[in-house]
Symmetry: C2
Subunit: 116 residues, 2 copies
């Protein structure tokens, strides 16, 4: 939404997570905070703390560099709509569950640096 | 919410606007974008475009320096809850409807620079 609305201090995404969909693989960013607000439906936040059901009005913050990989999973049979706020990812992103790593300026690689 | 959650790239406020309350006087920032998401209840966005009723799930962006003073007014008889995202205000803030101006580093003044 940010480009469409003329703001640039941070990015904003209006996301519809269909039934069964995941927002991403579980991940954390070295240098960018993230913040989400659930608008409708229901999602399960999966991170190192376990699983947390999020409902409309619930918010979650993912501080940069905390090492706690997170993902939103829609396990319901209805769409889940949420707002995500963050800054453009310019630092490494870590994916604890899979053999993938986002290296700043280099794109996605295997954890040993090999190509995907 | 940002200090409590450990994020610092941007600020996040969870605001309850009681019936009859205004989020602010109508204002615009020279150097900070703002973004709001309505979670519950209803508010009237008043800006140079007129009046726009905002309902849960509605979002609005206020680009820095656009000169379009804005305010949320709760004219209903129920509380309105919204999330506001922005950065710490470090630049001048303009209040078109009243004799007040926020000068960076100097605090609130009258438009002629006099003390309030």
């Amino acid at each position: 939404l940010a480009p469409a609305s003329g703001i640039s201090d941070f990015g904003v995404s209006h996301v519809t997570l269909e039934p069964g969909a995941w927002s991403s693989q579980r991940h954390w960013h070295e240098g960018e905070d993230e913040f989400v607000v659930i608008l409708s439906g229901e999602a399960v936040l999966v991170d190192d703390s376990g699983e947390t059901v999020m409902c409309p009005g619930d918010v979650a913050a993912f501080p940069k560099g905390d090492g706690n990989g997170h993902v939103l999973q829609n396990r319901s049979d209805a769409a889940c709509v949420f707002i995500a706020v963050g800054r453009p990812a310019e630092t490494d992103c870590h994916y604890p569950d899979i053999d993938m790593h986002l290296a700043a300026g280099e794109g996605f690689r295997r954890k040993d640096g090999g190509t995907l």
